[in-house]
Symmetry: C2
Subunit: 592 residues, 2 copies
C-alpha cells in the first residue's frame, strides 16, 4: 500500500507514530513560518503541518501545491494545540517530513466543498469531481450500506439471489421498451427489461421458492424531474405464501433497514385500504406523519362516510353543482390573514391543480365563525362542518369543490402543502404503512378498455373473481404498496398461478388469444406444468436510498445519472455510431 | 405460510409432529394397501404415506395425482421402517390425513431427475422445468453462495458497491458493442458496457478508493460453445496501491471463496511470469495440477533456457529446419504401445493443431532407448533429451517440431491431453496461481498495428516505459491473471493514471488525438484533475461458479442462458418489433 493509514482514522492514540497518508489537497493556509494543509480521502480529512524552520525546502514545496493535487505525505502524528472536536482526526496533525506529488490537478471548475459553487449542469459534466464532495460521496456510501443490509436480511431469510437476463423480449403492454438490434438475427430485437417480472414468476414455477435480486431495470419514457431511464429495484418473489406472509417478510426487511441504516425503530406498520387512502388522504400514498384528513361535506360513496349532505339546499350553486365538496381542518389556523388565504387560493388555482377557488371557514377564538360563504351558510351550518372535520375553536377549514377526481387530487396536494407550511412533515421522522386492496383494473377512457393497475399477472381477491365479468372495476386485487412518508417505496401482489384465470385476465384486458400467446406464451405454457401459489414485491431502490438520505431527489444516489433528456453529459452519450455498425445490425436511420 | 416446514428439514426428532408440506410430486408407488409418494421442493424430498385401510378416499385421490402436480399435504411425522441413510429426511415419512391439489401439471417433456432423459434443446426451451432438477438447482444455489461470500469478503475489506450505468457509449476499440437506439435523441445510440472499465477508473478519480460490483457485461461476438452475449463479472478497483497490494487482496478473496464455498485451503498462490508460462506450459493459463513441463531441445530464446541445441547436426531435416523442437516427458509411459503412439500422432495431426507428426523416445525398463528417429539419434543423444527433460528410466518423451507459436500451442494441448490420459488433472483438486509480467502490446499482422493485450488503460512497467518508442513488443505490463486449473478466472492491471502516458499509449495504438479525444476524452479530461495511482481486477463470475461446481460449462450456472445463436429459446427472443416502435426510434430495417 502507498499509505499506512487513511485520512479518517488517526486520533490522539496514534500520537508519536510515523505514518504515510495519501489523498487530495483540500485547502492550505500559510501562517508565518507554518503551512497547514488538509489532506482528504474517502475516509476523512487530516491536517498536515509543514514547518519553515525545521524544513524550509519542504515547506516551500508544500506552498506550491494546488487544490486537488494528489499527494503522499509521511511524518509523525502529533497532538494539535488547536483541537477541532467536529472531526474524528481533529485532535491530531501530521508533522510532515516527506512529500511526494502523485499527480497534479487543474483547478476544478467548482469547489470541492460541502456546499459547492457549481451549478447542476457543470457538476453533472464533471461528476467524478462532484462525487469527491462529501454529500455525494456519503449518498453513494449510504446506497452501498442499504444494499448490503438488504442482502443480509434476505440471505438470512433463505432468499436465493438469481440474475435474470438483461437481453429479453419486447412486450407492448406497459411502458415503452428500450430495444437492442440483434446482429446475429437481423431484423429482430432484444428488449431491456422494465422489470424481471415474468422471469421471477418462472423461477417460482422452477421451484426456486424464494428469489431476490438488486437489479437494473429500464423504461424508455419521457423523463420527468426525478425519473431515470435506468433504475434499480430490489426484486423479490416467494412461493407457497399468502399476502399476509409477504407483508410480514417485507415489513421485516423494512424494519431491519431502518434499524441498521438509520438506527430507527419504526414499530409495526399500519395498514390502510386503497379506498380509505383515497377517501381520507386523496391519494394512494398517504403521508401519515400528520392527520388533517380529507372529509367530504357531500355524501361520500364510501360506506363508512355516507352520512348527510352538509352543504346542499342553501342556494350556493358552486357546492350544489359539485360532484364532491371536500374539506380539511388546519389546526390552529383561524388567525390566517387575508393575504395568507389569498395565497392559498392562488396556489389551488395554478394550472397543475386547476381549481376555481378555495372556500374557508374560521372558528375564531371569540367563538364566532367567519367564512367566505357566510351569505349562504349560517354559524350553525359551519359548526356542523367543524364537527364533521373534528375541528376545534381556533381552527381553519379549507374547502374545495368540483369534479370528484380532480377535486380530491387538489385537496390531497393542498393537505400536503398545509403540512409543509405547518411543519408537520418533519425530516427525520418516518411513518411507513401498507396500502392494501387496490382495484385490479383501471378503465382507460382514451383507449376504451381496461388496464391492469399493477400488471396483468396480479391476482384478484378470490371472493371478487366472479365480478370480473359483471363489474370489472369493482374487483379488488391481492396487491399492496409500501408507502413511507407519502412516497411509494415498494409494491407487489399475489400472482395468478392458474392458467385459466390468467387467460380470463388477458381477455378482460382485451388481448386476443393470439396476442396473449405471442407475448406471454412462455409464461402461460409454464403455468401448464405445476405453477405454485406465489407472490412478490419490488422496492424502488434509488428512491429507498434517497428516502434514507433525507432527499427528494434520486439523482445524487446514483453514481452516474442521466439528465432529463436521457443524456449522460459526462461521457456525452447517446452518440452516433458508424455506418459499418449500422450495416452489421441491418438497420438504417430515417431521414430527418 | 401455506406450509409449516420445507421438504428438506424433517428428521426423526420431529416424529409425532403435525406438519404441512407443499411441493411437487416427484414419484409415487402403490404397494397393496399403501401409496408412497415423494414430495419435492427446493430444500429436499420427503416421503408421504397414504393408507387405503385408514382412509381409502384419500388414498384413491393420491393415486390419481400425476408427476409434477403441486400439492399441499398435512399429516403426522412418523419413523420409517425402511430408512434411507442418503437423505436428510430418510428416517421419516408423513402419514397424510389431508391433501390439497394446489395445481395440476401436464406430463413434463423430460424427467425431472438427477439424470434426465431430455436433450439440450428441449431442456433450454423448458428451462423452468430443467431448473427443478437437482444439478441445475444446485448450480444456481452455488452461484448465490459464491456471490454472497464475495460480497462478505469485499465488504469487510472496505470495498464500496457502486452501480455503474448500463446505457453507455459505443467505443470501437475492443469487441463489438450491443447498441440501443435512443428515441429521445434520434439517430444516436447508447451502447451496453463490455465492462465498467472506464467508470471504475472514474470512481477512483472521484476518490471512492475501493469499488466493487457484481455486474452484467455484454459482448456482441460470434458465440463459441461456452460464451454468452451477456455475462457477469466481479469487478473491482483500488486506489493508492501497487500491483503487490492487489495481488494480496484478491489472493485473499480467492482463499476466502475456496474456504467458504468448497471448504478447501488452497494455500499461498505461486506466481509465474508470462514468459515462463509460455516456455514451460506453452500458454498463459497453465494447469499446474501436474508438472510435465515443456522443454525445448533447440536453444530457447528465454534467458533461463538458452543452452545447447540437442537435436541439430544429425541430418534429421525436420528438426534441423524447425523453429522450435519441444518435448514433454510422460512419466512411466515407456510401455505405451504402437497403437497408443499412433493414436497420439493422429491427435496432433488434427486440423485444430495441424502438426505433421509426433516423435517419441522411450527409455525402456531394460535401459535401452527406442525412438522413432533412431536412425538419426543415438542412445547417447536420447539420453541427453531425457536428462534435459528430467526423465527417468520407464518414461516416454514426446516431441513436436515446427513453427514456434504453432508448435508450442500444439505441445501445450498435447500436455493437457496426456494429463487427462494419465489422470493427472484431478477433479476436486485445485491449483491456483498468478501469471504476471504480460507484454503490454500485441502486434496484429492483419491490421499492421499494435493492440493493447489487456486494454489501453493498462500501465507499462515503469522501467519499460522508454521501450514504448523503440521496441513496443518488449514492454511488459503491470498486469496479472488469476489462473485456476488451467482456466483464466480473473485478470487485471495497474492503470495509467498520468494523462501524458495515457496519450502516448493511445498514440502507440494508432489513435489520432481526435480519435482518442472522441472516444475517451471524458477519461483523459478526468485525468487532468488529480487521478490517484490505481489498479483493479475483474473475475469472470460465470466461469468462477462453474469451476467451483466442477463443470467446464458456464451455461448451467446461468439461470436463463442463451444458445449459440444468441437466442433465448424459452421466451423466443430476439423477436420482431412493431413498425410503430421502429418509427419512434427513427430507424428502419434494411431490405434483405
Amino acid at each position: 500500500m502507498l499509505r499506512t493509514h487513511t485520512c479518517g482514522e488517526l486520533t490522539i492514540k496514534d500520537a508519536g507514530k510515523k505514518v504515510t497518508l495519501c489523498g487530495w489537497l483540500q485547502r492550505s493556509r500559510d501562517l508565518g513560518g507554518m503551512t497547514f494543509t488538509d489532506i482528504r480521502d474517502r475516509y476523512g480529512i487530516t491536517q498536515l503541518v509543514f514547518n519553515m524552520d525545521s524544513n524550509a525546502a519542504l515547506c516551500e514545496q508544500a506552498r506550491k501545491l494546488g487544490r486537488e493535487f494528489v499527494i503522499s505525505v509521511s511524518g509523525i502524528v502529533a497532538e494539535r494545540s488547536n483541537k477541532n472536536a467536529k472531526m474524528v482526526t481533529g485532535d491530531i496533525e501530521i508533522n510532515v517530513d516527506q512529500l511526494e506529488v502523485l499527480n497534479t490537478s487543474l483547478l476544478p471548475p467548482f469547489t470541492i466543498e460541502e456546499n459547492t459553487d457549481g451549478g447542476d449542469e457543470i457538476r453533472m459534466k464533471y461528476r467524478y469531481l462532484d462525487i469527491r464532495r462529501n454529500p455525494v460521496k456519503e449518498s453513494l456510501l449510504l446506497r452501498a450500506k442499504v444494499a448490503a443490509e438488504t442482502r443480509n436480511y434476505l440471505y438470512n431469510e433463505n432468499f436465493c439471489e438469481i440474475e435474470t437476463p438483461v437481453l429479453i423480449k419486447s412486450t407492448p403492454e406497459g411502458a415503452r421498451d428500450f430495444v437492442v438490434p440483434s446482429r446475429m438475427n437481423q431484423g429482430e430485437f432484444y428488449a431491456l427489461p422494465q422489470s424481471p417480472q415474468t422471469f421471477k414468476q418462472l423461477l417460482m414455477v422452477a421451484g426456486m421458492d424464494r428469489y431476490y435480486q438488486i437489479v437494473k431495470c429500464f423504461r424508455d419514457e419521457d423523463l420527468r424531474a426525478d425519473r431515470q431511464p435506468e433504475f434499480t429495484q430490489i426484486d423479490c418473489e416467494m412461493s407457497f405464501v399468502e399476502q399476509e406472509d409477504i407483508l410480514n417478510t417485507f415489513e421485516g426487511l423494512t424494519k431491519h433497514l431502518f434499524k441498521n441504516v438509520k438506527g430507527v425503530d419504526i414499530g409495526e406498520l399500519p395498514r390502510m385500504s386503497f379506498a380509505d387512502a383515497m377517501t381520507y388522504y386523496g391519494n394512494d400514498k398517504p403521508d401519515i406523519r400528520f392527520e388533517m384528513k380529507l372529509r367530504s361535506l357531500t355524501p361520500d360513496p364510501s360506506p363508512k362516510e355516507r352520512g348527510e349532505n352538509l352543504v346542499s339546499g342553501k342556494n350556493f350553486k358552486i357546492f350544489d353543482d359539485a360532484e364532491l365538496v371536500v374539506a380539511i381542518c388546519a389546526r390552529g389556523c383561524a388567525e390566517y390573514t387575508r393575504k395568507q388565504l389569498d395565497e392559498l387560493t392562488e396556489w389551488v388555482k395554478r394550472p397543475q391543480l386547476g381549481m376555481t377557488g378555495l372556500i374557508y371557514s374560521r372558528w375564531n377564538s371569540d367563538g364566532t365563525y367567519k367564512s367566505s360563504v357566510d351569505k349562504f351558510y349560517s354559524a350553525e351550518d359551519q359548526q356542523k362542518w367543524f364537527e364533521h372535520c373534528g375541528g376545534q375553536q381556533g381552527d381553519l377549514i379549507l374547502i374545495l369543490a368540483g369534479e370528484k377526481n380532480k377535486t380530491r387530487k387538489a385537496m390531497s396536494e393542498l393537505r400536503l402543502e398545509m403540512g409543509n407550511r405547518l411543519g408537520l412533515r418533519k425530516a427525520g421522522e418516518y411513518k411507513a404503512l401498507w396500502v392494501l386492496d387496490f382495484p385490479l383494473l383501471e378503465y382507460s377512457d382514451e383507449q376504451k378498455r381496461w388496464f391492469a393497475m399493477h400488471h396483468p399477472f396480479t391476482s384478484p381477491k378470490p371472493e371478487d373473481i366472479a365480478l370480473l365479468e359483471t363489474d370489472p372495476g369493482a374487483v379488488r386485487a391481492n396487491a399492496y404498496d409500501l408507502v413511507i412518508n407519502g412516497t411509494e417505496i415498494g409494491g407487489g401482489s399475489i400472482r395468478i398461478h392458474n392458467k385459466d384465470l390468467q387467460k380470463k385476465m388477458f381477455s378482460v384486458l382485451g388481448f386476443t388469444d393470439e396476442d396473449a400467446q405471442n407475448q406471454f406464451g412462455f409464461l402461460m405454457n409454464a403455468f401448464e406444468y405445476g405453477a405454485p401459489p406465489h407472490g412478490g414485491i419490488a422496492f424502488g431502490f434509488d428512491r429507498l436510498c434517497a428516502m434514507f438520505g433525507g432527499s427528494d431527489s434520486i439523482r445524487d444516489y446514483i453514481a452516474f445519472p442521466k439528465n432529463n433528456a436521457g443524456r449522460d453529459v459526462m461521457i456525452d452519450s447517446p452518440s452516433k455510431i458508424s455506418e459499418e455498425q449500422l450495416k452489421e445490425l441491418g438497420i438504417k436511420l430515417n431521414e430527418k
